[in-house]
Structures are given as C-alpha cells and as structure tokens.
Amino acid sequence: MTKTQTAHQNLLALLLLLPSLIILGIFVFYPMIKTFYLSTQLTDLVGNPIKFIGLKNFANLIRSDSFITSFTITLIFVLFSTVLTLFISYIMAITASQKMKGIAIFRTMFSSTMGVSVTVASILWLFMFNPQIGLFSKILTILHLPQINWLSDPTWSLVAIIGTTVWMNLGFAFLVLLGAIQAIPQDLYQVADLDGASWWLRLRKITLPATRPTIFFVTVVTLINAFQTFGQVDILTSGGPDYHTNLLVYAIYQDAFVNHSVGRASAQSVILTLIIMLFTMIQFYVKNKREGRNAK
C-alpha cells in the first residue's frame, strides 16, 4: 500500500469512528471518570464537589446499616433470580427443543417475555400480588391458608421482586438456550439411541456438556442484569418495606435524586461498576480460554 492510501484509510477510519467515539466519550468514559472522582468528594445538595475526602464515602457506606442491608439483599436477589432463571428456562428449552406439530407456537409463546418491558411486567405482577383481588390471594383463600402481604412483608416483598424478575428473564434465556440445544449435532443422539441410553443419561452426557458454554453465557448475562435491576423495585415496592428491597441501583437512584447525597451515590456506583467489570472480565477470560483450547 502506498503512503497516500494509508493516509486515506487513516482519515476515513477516523471519520467513521468519530461519531461513536464522541458519544461514548461524553456519555460513557467521561461519566465513569466523573463518578470515580465524585465518589472521593464531599458534595453539596446539587451535587457539586466541596472537598476531597478520600475513601471516606466508602467507609461511611460500610458503616451504614441501610447500605449493608441493601448490599446483602442485592446479593441474595442476584443469586436467586439467576439460579431460578437458568433452571426454569433450561427446562423450557429442553421441552421445546423436540420437533412436533405446533412447536413453533410454543416457542414463540415461551420467548414472548423477552419483549415485555420492566414496567409492563411489574404492573402485571402488581396485580398478581394484590392482597385483595390478586390471583395469589385467591389461591391462598381457596387453600384456606393465611393471606400474605406480598409487597409490604419484609421477606415476601423480595420474593415478589425475584418472581417478577425471573418471569421477565425467561424469554431471553429460553431463546438462547434453545438455540444452543438445537445446534447440538443430531448424530450424537443417534449414537446414544443405538446404545439405548436413557433420557436422563442423554441429558447428562450430551445435552448439558454441549450447552455448557451457553449456560455460562446466560448465567453471566442474567447475573449482570440482576445487579442492574431498578424498575421492578421502583414500581412494586419503592425499596420498602424498610429497605428490604432496596437493591443497589435503586439505592443509587434514591441517594442521587431524592436524598441529594451525590458522594454516597457515586461511591455505590463505583462499587456497582467494579462488580460488573469483574463478571465481564471473568466472561472474557473463560471465553478466551475456551477458544484457545478449541483452536488447538
């Protein structure tokens, strides 16, 4: 390539990348640096930094009961919503992976929650959990069980949020897992059939190992999304009762825009960023390791 061609390509590449770079610069890189900076500052009511206080915001967080509650709750929430999403969506994917008449309709139905927004999901489930006329209250009545105040009970409110979240997650997880299961070469199963392998053995020896990378992918994506949960809390419980559903992002939002405690909110944002970075890096690492192994 000649020099002018090289210069031409450099210029063209710059022009093509510039719009993205500007947007990412203003709305991703700058705010990230700013958030890290603000987390070390004492801030006034409008969020202006007053003075450098080092890691004091973080120290205060650790000593704050409400943060400890919200952080613990977040971890519990992430764990349960991820495990349940994976488990249920995998069963759905296996059931829907077989060929039969009308299966396409079921697949479409199973993936439909992928299109449901957090608002819609929350409002639908708000009704399900309604203590007077909701479905669950009706079921409890029929079974002669005591009524549960789903959204105002400290324990059940988290269960309600987990339930809503898992329901929302199922569509995406199902679709990705279904794709992975369908991509397994059929001859593997044919060999298993010749050997007379049972359904359970086929699942354990063929389906699960073959879909392990996808299971891992869905796990990490669900996990990361769970850490970023906001809307369900906002609509269903507003973080209550008494911070028992005050998930991390909701706490950030509250501290930043309601309590006007920007330093504290920024410190929590930094913690969130570090958690997400950790999981993304684990994912990259595992993916590279796997690809490295496959390349050999």
Partner: protein, 272 residues
Amino acid sequence: MQNSRLQKNCRFVLLLIVAILLLLPLFLGISLSLSSSQSIAQGNLLPRHLEFGNYIKVFTNTPMASFLLHSLIVSGMVMVGQIALSIMAAYAFVFLNFRFKKTLFILFLSTMMLPFEAQIIPNFATIRDLNLLNTYASIGLPFLASAFGTFMMKTSFEQVPIELKHLSDIEGLNHWQFATRVVMPYTKVNIITFALYSFLTNWNMYLWPLIATTNDNVRTVQIGLRQLRSQDTASNWGLIMAATIVSVIPTLLIIFLGQKYFKNGLTNGVIK
C-alpha cells in the same frame, strides 16, 4: 409406537402447562382490561361481559397516545442512530487498516462492561447543562453509539467472503459502493436483527427516561405507565391494564415477527 405416542402427548401437556403458567400474568392483564370496574371490584378475574371502554378511555382520558408517539420517535431515532454508527464503526474495524485499530477496538469493547446505571449522575448533569432536559435528544443521545451493535456488526461483516472484497477491488468499487452494494446486502439479516433488538431495547428503556424527563413533553410510554399507576387512576385496574396492553403490543409484535432472527442472531453473533 404406542409408547412414543404417549410420550408425545405427555410432552404436549407439559408444554401446555408451562405456556399457561408463563402467560397467565399477561392473560389476566388482558382479562382485566376487558372488564368493567364493578366486575373487578367484585373480585372477578374474568370479565362478566367483554367491555372495550377501558381501551377508549386510555386514549381519551390519559395522555397515553402522546406517550406512545414519544416512544415511537425516541426508539426510532435511537435505532437509526445505532444502526448507522455501528455500521460505520464496524466497517472501519473490518475493512480498513489504520493506526491504533486494536487499541480503539478494545476501547469500544470496554464500554460493554461499564454499567450505565452507575453513570446516571454525571449524565444527568451533562444533559441538564446542555439544556436538553425534556427533549427527545435528552433521552436518545446517550444511546446513539452502541458497543454491542458495533461488535455484532463487526462479527457479521467478518463473514463477508474476502473474495467479494477482491471482486469489488477489481471492479473498482469505492468504500461507499462496497459498503452499500456488497457488505450491507450480504449482512442484511444481521442488520435487521440488530434493528429489531435495538428498537425493542429503546422502547423498553426505563431508568434513563425517568431521569431525563420531568414533564409530559417527551415522556415515553414506560414512564407514562408508571405515572398512571401512581396517580388517582391507581385503583382503576381495568384502565391501567388496558394502557399496559397497548404499550406492550409493539414489542410483542417484534418478538413474534423477529423470533427467527433473534435466535440466530443471539446465538451466532453474541456467543461466538
């Protein structure tokens, strides 16, 4: 044969049960939206007789129509922007040689691990300082560039056979011609997948539109629903459900129409 038929029937019943359980909330929502207030107040989950009044009220008594329009504009705008910017960036990464290519790509990739939720404070300040609060730009601007989209487009552009590039070089196609006549037609399916995915995500955006709008001027449908639920309409389940169902129709339509695209796109593009 008998056994396999039995198995098939069992599987069908299982599928049916899962489908019913999964779609129950949505079904109840539709059911309530078609019920009268009295019927709901009496604790009926199914309407005693079908009523479409709630749907009419959604458009006459609430600002849902304008919320829907706002969402359409913002989602469309961001979708077009994301497609354009992602295609541009991906083209550079795949078909051009330039300095700092690797570094810049890592820079793009790294944005995928920075949660937007952790950046809302400075972003709110930026939008406020640019005097953009309560404009379409305030909602859409931060999302115009998409690392995910760039990554997905890059992966699909890499599947364009090198021979087509060679052919185009021989025939003297310039970059614009090569991009529009070869690369984009060749990766059409992936572009459509990303477009659908983008629209879906934009339509369902929640946290940022909540922060970036303080009045009804450009408020999107998600925030509009939240508002309906917290206002005096709160106990009017029929109306709320009707509004909810109206808001979810476009995205469900996208899921139904684009299911094939999504499955292939998600499994080929993302996991690879």
